[in-house]
């Protein structure tokens, strides 16, 4: 097989999902509804004919609006769900962070939870013994090791989950909306860590609503819409521009020319916005000079101080 070398290979995958009345109803209720013909189950295809393959070291960004089938696809890749049609092959150890704090136990301590999570991700006790210190250190939870998990703040919880998933060196890392954890400092740290991991040959899959994040981290993009694959491409910037345009105009591209057109339109819009902003600032500046009779330089400095304070710091 020609694809046997790729880290993740998704071959014409379709996943049927069912929703309906069946959840949380009891046997009695089920019988009643069956008898009265009130029992409804709807089947729908959460993903239709998705195909892509990732090589080692690739970082895939999956984009698409709500209900596009992103999470379902991730579930299939991580093996939680089995695709209705098509095949998915993966190579190596998968660390799935579909939801950061799921699976932690409030009653157990931070230490015990770390080991439990490590075990769930498929590691041995010896390996966890070796890694434990650095995980706690990265999560900045040294002082909380023997506290019950439920006493941690939600930020701390996500930090721990993120640290475990990253530091255990998975072959494939699946991240669902998780990079936005913690405070600004930790976010920066986790972003850096992500980049470091990716440069180390890990294959990553990221679902994110932040196009900025996808641009920064990903070298391939899979765009889904209502279960359909709009594209799988390595022209990240072009397609993300088009995606941004789609978010505004709600129209999917039908061809490559469309994509280019949409990307162009988006860039023009960004340019336009920038222009408008600039014009606004100029107007402000002029007004200031007129009304307050301040020095032009002072006014400019004021504006810079307000909008780009870092420039002033560098000069000072």
């Amino acid at each position: 097989m020609s694809n046997s070398l790729s880290a993740v290979n998704c071959n014409d995958v379709s996943i049927r999902y069912i929703t309906g009345d069946f959840k949380d109803i009891g046997f009695k209720e089920y019988l009643m509804r069956k008898l009265t013909g009130n029992y409804h189950v709807t089947e729908f295809w959460a993903d239709k004919n998705i195909s892509f393959s990732l090589e080692e070291g690739d970082m895939l960004g999956i984009i698409g609006s709500n209900g596009a089938g992103k999470s379902t696809l991730l579930k299939a890749i991580s093996g939680v769900m089995i695709p209705t049609r098509g095949t998915i092959t993966t190579k190596g150890n998968i660390a799935a962070l579909l939801e950061l704090t799921a699976g932690f136990d409030g009653e157990l301590t931070v230490r015990e939870n770390t080991y439990l999570r490590g075990a769930m991700l498929g590691y041995t006790r010896d390996f966890m013994n070796d890694m434990y210190e650095s995980i706690i250190e990265f999560a900045e939870l040294e002082k909380f090791q023997d506290r019950p998990f439920k006493q941690l703040s939600s930020g701390m919880k996500s930090r721990l989950a993120f640290s475990i998933a990253c530091l255990v060196n998975p072959d494939i890392l699946i991240l669902d909306e998780v990079l936005s954890v913690g405070d600004g400092a930790f976010r920066k740290k986790s972003g850096d860590k992500m980049k470091e991991i990716l440069s180390g040959g890990v294959t990553g899959i990221l679902v994110s609503h932040s196009t900025q994040q996808v641009r920064e981290l990903c070298n391939k993009v899979l765009w889904l819409d209502h279960g359909n694959q709009v594209c799988f491409t390595d022209e990240v910037d072009l397609y993300l521009n088009a995606y941004e345009d789609f978010l505004i105009n709600k129209k999917l591209p039908a061809s490559y020319e469309d994509v280019q057109m949409m990307s162009e339109r988006y860039l023009q819009k960004v340019e336009l916005e920038r222009e408008e902003k600039r014009a606004k600032q100029v107007a402000k500046l002029e007004k200031m000079i007129e009304n307050e009779h301040v020095d032009v330089v002072d006014a400019a400095v004021n504006i810079i101080r307000k909008n780009r304070p870092e420039l002033l710091k560098e000069n000072a």
Binding site: F27, V80, M81, L98, G103, D105, Y115, M120, R125
Partner: protein
Amino acid sequence: MNKIKKYKFLFEELVSRDFKEKYKRTVLGMAWSVLSPLLNLLVLVLVFTKLLGRNTPHYTIYIFCGTLIMAYFRESTRGGMRSLMANRSIINKINIPKYLFLLSNNVSSLINFSLTLCVFFVLCLADGIQFGWQFLMLPYAIVCLVMFNVGIGLILSACFVFFKDTSYLYDILLTLINYLSAIFYRIDSFSPNVQRLFLMNPLYCFIKYFRVIVIEGNIPSVQFHLLLLFYSLLSLAIGLLIYKKYNHKFLYYM
């Protein structure tokens, strides 16, 4: 085999989690799990000794055989029933065999059972029961009982995933089984045909096995051994079949 090795660490961690959760890390929690069946036993002895126990030798032990096995069965299957749903946030996100949760739950009930079993032996000693070679056969019944409980747990956990009122229905069923298992009464006053009907209740058979060995000092017949094995294999087979058939569907219901 490879799979067992792969999930050994996880299994150990899950058992330790279930165990800690159960006893909340308190010595009292542990003591309570021994005390509670004893108190239960005390109530039954106080209530029924005058009524039914006059001509039953070792009546306290007679009842204890029943409560010991019933308590283990109840705890193990009830816990097993909930084990999948209780871990649904994990099952939903991480690809690990779901049966591990059921098994780890069963291990912690087994530990509890062993503790009670120790108390049981102490009480046997106090009641002047002769310990003989036949006691070495008890592990046979225990192994069968473990398999039986795992099988019932598998069946119930699948039912519970699909129908949330399984737990209420099962509680009613448990009460029924409790009264039908001859825990505090003897069955010799019934006609031979009715007595044979009791053999259709697996729980009664397990209790009977214990009583024959501990109180009567005999080893049950070969047929009786086979009967226990039959029940445990049947329950395990049905449980595994249901699990195999439906475990991919659980996800939609969680």
